[in-house]
Symmetry: C2
Subunit: 264 residues, 2 copies
DNA sequence: CGGATCTTTGACTACGTTCAATTATTGTGG
DNA sequence: CCACAATAATTGAACGTAGTCAAAGATCCG
């Protein structure tokens, strides 16, 4: 059981410690959250909503000022194209924030759908305003999370812009692995990968056929193993070499919390 | 001469009205900025820096807590790959913010270089903190700008993920056109396009050769005209149709300021 | 158990790459 | 202001990665 240490806090809420939302797992190394900050974080998690697997969460042009914090399951952001094609822009894993800019730009340009059954906390814009206005530390943490989203998209651009299919697949698998690891959803080198090859193809700008053949090659090279959506990255070292993968931005997030650089 | 209307403001700074920074051009429809907000915006523009064409501004792994607001010229964010390749992630045009998350994650994951001679205002993290803490309206504006950056990257992902070379080039040209238009850097259907075909190729995940042939096809179809880096989008309607281009996120930014939705 | 969805495989095609060489443009120093 | 070097644009030809079409298995789920 993870215990969040809260300096001179009277607000040791039961729900907080017993069922730590994944977003807060990222914050767990922070030693100096004050009671007000904790209260605010809890408020941001007070309102829950669930979506069934496959359901659309936001549709393009929908208007919604709330953002969602994923507490369980996977979702993805995407665009449908006129020719029937689809491009996946990013994945939302536990602890990620869906539509973090909703308070300022309430009309979403992209759709978001649930990959698995999904549970989210609804975060009202007031809480975010309050967060930035009264909790500078949390403001920086929120900004760091935004920065991660930004970096993740930048990685996606590099992947599909300048890498071969073989590298793209490898790189994406590694990114998912390390992101899940950060919130405790991996087991050694394995994790649950609840996506179809069709979705992966639409993520990496490949055809399903080629996606399948590329995964086959990775299996053949004894680098990965997949059975019933459980994937094992057998040789992570080698995979990282193939994909030129660096976990830059995730490392930075970890360091930020561990060394509390930002609190200086 | 654009005049920024400032409600009951005593702070009608000369430099502010006479040489309006492009970032503020985006805000120009806002009727109700208070003097403190104006002062803060000016402070964010007080410290200037210039970079010569081609010079590197941030290099990967550099540490810098300041962000830069572009006031003149173009820059781009990119990654170099081991094989000598390069992927451009995004462009920074006048009014754009370079490294907007620097305050939280000071180590940059990507490099930024100047395309033209570049002038920027250096924005210290304190000002951003102050902005969010004391000027909720500006905080939302800043968030809206971040949202634009996010949307722009999402568009880039869709472009290179699921569009043909012909569409990619068209789509990028349109995006640059509309972004420049927002800050007054277009003239009818023309604008200055200070990039090499090699840079465009590295933006769109194409080879230089194919980039060249694609531009040729667009010229042949009488859709664009280029001479000495001045480009004319002869038939914007048609180009938008080809690229499936929608200026979604830019429209929203404009609407935001015009209707002041966010100030309700 | 049966329909739907997903995965896998084969054969053929094509969009874009690579290599190589030529022409044009730009920038700089004499 | 011209000469020359460097950079950028253009064109040709051959090749290859990934796409398309099609059909057969496998798996999931009610």
């Amino acid at each position: 059981m993870i215990q969040l240490k809260i300096s001179n806090s009277t607000a040791t809420h039961k729900s907080f410690n017993n069922d730590l939302p994944p977003l807060l797992k990222k914050f767990v190394h922070l030693q100096s959250l004050n009671p007000d900050a904790v209260d605010l974080l809890l408020k941001m998690h007070a309102l829950k909503k669930t979506f069934a697997k496959g359901k659309i969460i936001y549709e393009q042009d929908n208007i919604n000022k709330d953002c969602f914090i994923v507490t369980h399951g996977w979702a993805y952001r995407y665009t449908d194209l006129y020719d029937g094609g689809r491009q996946v822009i990013s994945y939302y894993l536990p602890g990620d924030i869906i539509n973090p800019f909703a308070s300022a730009i309430p009309k979403s340009n992209y759709s978001v759908a649930a990959i698995t059954n999904l549970r989210v906390s609804i975060c009202k814009p007031e809480y975010l305003m309050q967060l930035f206005a009264t909790q500078p530390k949390l403001g920086l943490l929120y900004t760091a999370l935004l920065s991660c989203g930004d970096a993740s998209m930048a990685e996606q651009i590099v992947r599909i812009g300048r890498r071969s299919a073989y590298q793209r697949v490898t790189h994406l698998l590694l990114e998912l692995y390390y992101r899940l690891k950060l919130v405790g959803y991996t087991e050694n080198s394995t994790f649950y990968l609840p996506v179809t090859q069709s979705l992966l193809a639409d993520t990496l700008g490949l055809s399903v056929v080629h996606m399948n053949r590329t995964l086959y090659k990775l299996r053949l090279a004894n680098l990965i193993k997949i059975r019933s959506h459980k994937i094992d990255l057998i040789n992570i070292e080698k995979l990282m070499e193939i994909a030129e993968y660096k976990c830059n931005y995730l490392e930075q997030l970890k360091n930020m919390f561990e060394h509390e650089e930002i609190l200086a």
